[in-house]
Symmetry: none
Subunit: 191 residues, 4 copies
DNA sequence: CATGAATGAGAGTTCATTCAT
DNA sequence: GATGAATGAACTCTCATTCAT
């Protein structure tokens, strides 16, 4: 029985994700979500008491299942360049599809709450990439770079492109520039 | 004097800039700007017919006086590494003071209008940096890098940091990572 | 029950009719109707999105139940002079009570919309009277008049009196003048 | 010197007449009249303290020069049918050009002031037509009709058509119906 | 007198939120 | 739990009106 409630919650999150992705956090109203879910005002409120709560729930879910997690690959001793290749392919895909990104909504949401609620996201990203690069260096497949520096470049150039490409049209060459740059920094050229 | 009107307009732009910088575009209401300027509703409306018009006026002014313009320095034959040094110092300053940035407001504003209104900003930034790097390469003071790639990294890493630092606390080491990375890409090491 | 909504709608129409009748269309605001109905702003707006929509709904209802319809009487073969007598009695009553008339509101409303939305009202009135007069002529109870001419006089003299009597005080003799004139035109005198 | 002021007043009345004729009284704002006259807010207010005052001034002027005044013709012993013919031609012209009519504005204006301010207009019209018909009867050129009745029909049918034709499209046959009807009532047929 | 910037009241409209059913 | 009518606060926008210049 309690399962039904959980299903409805899931459905609400599913239906509101694209709204937040498209229009950010502030613009989306409970009314919008009512319409997107087909729920009545009261019905929606019996699950979530406001857009903030819904957005938090979406972020939590997102945090759990991070598709770009290299841990498994590293455990399987996959070559670092190969893991990197995969990661960059996904990254490029995401840069190209910034309309699916919650970045804008996250920025806006962050402005409505106090405290460093978003810190976890950076930390997760930083850790993941730091681990991968160290893994590659240990395996002598990556150059001995300044890890913190490269990770910063990776994360923020990615974020910058994702945000900026929402508002100006961007060609593939820009996405490639970012991924190629990262490869150049890490991969050891065969001479 | 017809000058009075212009002065009030300036005052409105001045007073509303920090509002947009702090809270983005969508959150700011005409009422907020009334309070910030001390004008009455009607008084404000007789100058601007909405927040969009005010924000556009701010952007226009910003576009005119770009503080980070290297043209003069290049005309004066200043060494490219020196120009770069100055530019990165300003860039670091701006990354550190992202609370003064209109980035979030621009992202939100872009979502409210149709068309590629923001394209001019990227183009201006791209041109400026492309010119500088080519200048440095011509003078044999910069490495012969892939200009488009480096410019993309510069612009988007900068944007990424500026946005992200609004919502997570960032240490100086991250700002330095970005500027150092750029230097490494461009400057020729004296061995 | 979904019936509640319909009841409230009816109540709103009922409550706003006298407002429109008294002050015309333009002067009446949603706030006035809020006060007349006892509803809150939001409550009223959830039923009608503006005074125009409310007024249209009132007109629609009015159009449906036309109290001055002679069809039934003609079907029952009632003598034409008798039908006329009744009609004129009602007409006189309405001229005397022009404060209940929506005429002014209709004129104003017509100015706010495009297209010939009011045409249906004239047509209905014309048809009704044309049918009656032809009926009387066929039964040899009315003079063989120019039907279109008499109908025009009936309709517009009636309208003229109704409008004019809103703003100047009018004695019974004027109302009688109109009805008597119509009778004289139609009825065959027994000499 | 004081002449300039009078000229400006005239100009204001001239410029605002068509506004009232087109949109009635309530809809017209001081702002509209500012724009129509090209005067500044303060300038306009230094002549008239509100739309009511302007409209009253227009009505006063209108009352003075009544174009449909038969007195002169009667003094000149012109045949009554001829005077009638001219009057009806003018009347038809006015019915056809109801967009120039202040009727709607007068109705609305009457609702904003207390007292029978419009009575003078009816009385003037009634007197004019009563005099003409009596003149015709005295000269044995008109039938010996019930004068009050015919005058009522003339005035109110005319008013009714003028108002109604603002909001529904009306063919020439209707205007003719009214004028022909009046002629039939008054003119003695030559058998 | 004329100008036009500014005031402030008030209308239109939208939603977050509640609550009787 | 769900529904959806209703509330009321907040915002946008428009003018009548004033007043310093």
């Amino acid at each position: 029985m309690g399962n039904k409630k959980e299903q409805t919650r899931e459905m609400i999150l599913e239906a509101s994700y694209p709204l937040f992705a498209k229009d950010g956090f502030n613009k989306i109203t409970m009314k919008d979500i009512c319409e997107a879910t087909g729920l009545s005002r009261g019905g929606l409120y019996s699950h979530f008491s406001g857009t903030g709560e819904i957005f938090e729930a979406i972020l939590s879910k997102l945090n759990e299942k991070d598709e770009m997690d290299f841990q498994k690959e590293m455990d399987e001793k996959m070559p670092a360049p190969e893991i990197l290749e995969r990661a960059l392919r996904l990254m490029k895909y995401e840069m190209k599809h910034s309309e699916d990104s919650l970045s804008l909504a996250m920025y806006e949401y962050a402005g409505t709450v106090s405290g460093d609620v978003m810190g976890q996201f950076t930390e997760a990203g930083e850790k993941k990439w730091t681990d991968l690069i160290n893994y590659g260096i240990r395996r002598k497949e990556f150059k001995r770079v300044d890890v913190h520096e490269i990770v910063s470049i990776i994360l923020y150039a990615y974020q910058g492109v994702r945000m900026w490409s929402r508002i100006v049209s961007m060609t593939d060459s820009t996405f490639r520039a970012v991924t190629e740059h990262i490869k150049k920094q890490l991969l050891i050229e065969n001479s």
